[in-house]
């Protein structure tokens, strides 16, 4: 059996105002898995990723990363901290928050430099990562001058250049044009096939279906209501409806009014059992 990456037991987290962000969450992730975290807005997806990255710490329950409890003390202790940061990368939803260096090249160098890698290794990683993501032509550019899609690629490159074996992705396809979304889906697929563990939070069901085999669904009251295969989850319309991932609406079609659960994609199939309009 492959190595245990994360073990989450009975975790709860509350915002400073006392509002619940997560309640009694429990699951585990093994090396090489591609797990999607699905949930409506404010269901706690980003908070869960922050907890897994050791940026927030659970108010109750326990999280283990690579067999070590992920506590504030452990994350601030140098040997584990550096090893953890090397192994786990985090692609933030807001690329602007992630691109804080003067140039794209420095952005790619930031992680390796913090990991105290030798200079020639840093340069090698920059060149290789830029080539892999096709952003060599952007290296001298300034992050503020990039388009949304380019920012996302550079942010991902900044994560990849650290060489993480686990990547947490927070709404990676949000705000991207269709071509960049397609590129991202293919890139994530390639990472998965290379053995990188991917944990992706999203409410984009098509992305989840393409890149993940397993899905965790968070309800609107911030509880884990499903942990299982993606294929089963996406065919369980009641489950998706209850998590507010799809909605039932009526529309007129071929002279009849239909009311059925509806995924927001361009094409969908349904029977014609509606009411005559």
């Amino acid at each position: 059996m492959s190595e245990m990456i994360f073990k989450v037991e009975n975790v709860g987290y509350w915002y400073p105002g006392g509002e619940a962000a997560l309640r009694d969450i429990g699951f585990s992730v093994r090396a090489g898995e591609s797990v999607a975290i699905l949930g409506a807005n404010a269901s706690g997806k980003s908070t869960l990723l922050h907890l897994l990255d050791g940026l927030y710490f659970a108010d109750h329950g326990r999280i283990e990363a690579f067999g070590t409890p992920l506590t504030e003390q452990a994350v601030e202790t140098s040997p584990f901290s550096r090893e953890f940061r090397r192994k786990v990368g985090y692609l933030f939803q807001n690329s602007d928050a992630q691109l804080f260096c003067a140039t794209v090249e420095e952005e790619l160098a930031f992680g390796p430099l913090q990991l105290r890698l030798p200079r020639d290794e840093v340069e090698r990683r920059i060149d290789d990562t830029a080539r892999m993501l096709g952003i060599e032509h952007l290296l001298e550019r300034y992050p503020q001058s990039l388009s949304g899609g380019e920012k996302k690629k550079v942010a991902l490159a900044g994560v990849i250049s650290c060489g993480p074996s686990v990547i947490l992705l927070d709404e990676p396809s949000a705000g991207l044009d269709p071509r960049t979304q397609q590129w991202l889906t293919e890139f994530m697929g390639a990472l998965r096939q290379s053995g990188v563990t991917l944990i992706t939070s999203s409410h984009d069901l098509s992305l989840v279906a393409d890149v993940s085999r397993r899905v965790l669904i968070l309800s609107e009251d911030q509880r884990l209501i499903y942990d299982g295969p993606v294929a089963d989850a996406l065919t369980d319309l009641d489950l998706l409806l209850s998590a507010n991932l799809i909605h039932a609406h009526a529309h007129v079609h071929d002279g009849k009014v239909h009311a059925h659960p509806h995924l927001h994609e361009i094409w969908h199939e349904h029977g014609h059992g509606g009411v005559e309009s």
Partner: protein
């Protein structure tokens, strides 16, 4: 389909039976709004303006340019003759023309600096500070005035020695400011900050400045969005007080968003291994062209100092 019933005031508005919008009174103030918009635009322009970054001087390595400018500024402090300082100004002007510096930008620099410098140096041009042969009388008291332990002369005059002192100060200020502006205009601000960091500016200070430069532009965009969102729902300018209240509320919202962004940035840094000890800078690329440029700056400084020495003998 969801049954949606619009309120009556909304349906009547859609049908064109709009309620009469009160006409703005003459004393409605739009100046708060305009001032904020202009301030934002000016700041955004100044933060990103490097009008000559594509020129030949823009292609010189930023560290070399910083070193050359520092060298020439230090050289200007050794120059005492007005002739040498004017020659330096001529050389800087030639450089500015060679990179096609916009005349408007130069005029802005040259208009601001002399006025400010004159205000500082004016007393030094008179016999109150610099004694010497009178050149012209500014004010005559008719008799000497004693104030505590100081005695003012019968008349305040501009002296020849005072003119030289003031001229030297003024020329030196113009030389230094024009040189600095030349550096800023030919170097992207982010690159310039990076060069300063590589030249030994404390790392944390350099990173903080870089991030401030990066995010001030972003925050300005946020402020502009808040401003535009307000305008899009405003039919007329409010009273001065309501505009001020809105500006204060806008600052509050902006502060909250900025704080959130700062937290996100910090998390993004920690996530990529930042542990409080920042590691930055890794590549150096100074080529022959850069070295020629630096040698040129050293030669210019040497020639000017030699000229000054000859003139002052």
């Amino acid at each position: 389909m969801t049954n949606l019933t619009l309120p009556e005031w909304y349906t009547s508005a859609i049908e064109g039976e709009r309620e009469a919008v009160p006409h703005p009174s003459r004393r409605r103030a739009v100046w708060v709004r305009r001032a904020l918009a202009r301030l934002g635009k000016a700041l955004a322009r100044e933060l990103t303006a490097s009008p000559c970054a594509g020129s030949w001087l823009g292609r010189i390595e930023a560290r070399v340019k910083v070193a050359a400018v520092l060298l020439l500024i230090i050289a200007s402090t050794f120059l005492h003759s007005l002739g040498a300082l004017a020659a330096m100004f001529g050389a800087i002007l030639a450089l500015a023309l060679s990179v096609r510096m916009p005349a408007r930008s130069l005029a802005r620099v040259w208009l601001g600096v002399p006025v400010f410098s004159l205000a500082i140096i004016l007393p030094a041009a008179t016999n109150l500070v610099t004694p010497g042969s009178s050149w012209c009388t500014v004010w005559s008291f008719g008799h000497a005035i004693r104030i505590w332990q100081w005695t003012l002369p019968e008349s305040v005059t501009v002296t020849s020695a005072g003119i030289v002192v003031a001229g030297r100060f003024l020329l030196r200020s113009i030389d230094c400011v024009t040189l600095s502006y030349l550096l800023i205009a030919t170097t992207d601000h982010a690159v310039l900050l990076n060069a300063l960091r590589r030249l030994g500016m404390p790392r944390v200070f350099g990173m903080a400045l870089t991030m401030a430069h990066r995010y001030v532009a972003l925050i300005l965009r946020l402020a502009e969005e808040i401003h535009l969102a307000k305008i899009s729902r405003t039919m007329s300018a409010g009273s001065v007080r309501s505009e001020q209240r809105w500006a204060a509320a806008g600052i509050g919202i902006l502060f909250r968003r900025t704080h959130r962004l700062a937290c996100e940035v910090q998390n993004a840094m920690i996530s990529r291994g930042y542990d409080g000890n920042l590691q930055v800078g890794f590549r150096a690329a100074i080529c022959v062209r850069d070295m020629i440029c630096l040698a040129g700056a050293i030669a210019l400084a040497g020639v000017l100092i030699a000229m000054d020495w000859l003139w002052m003998r």
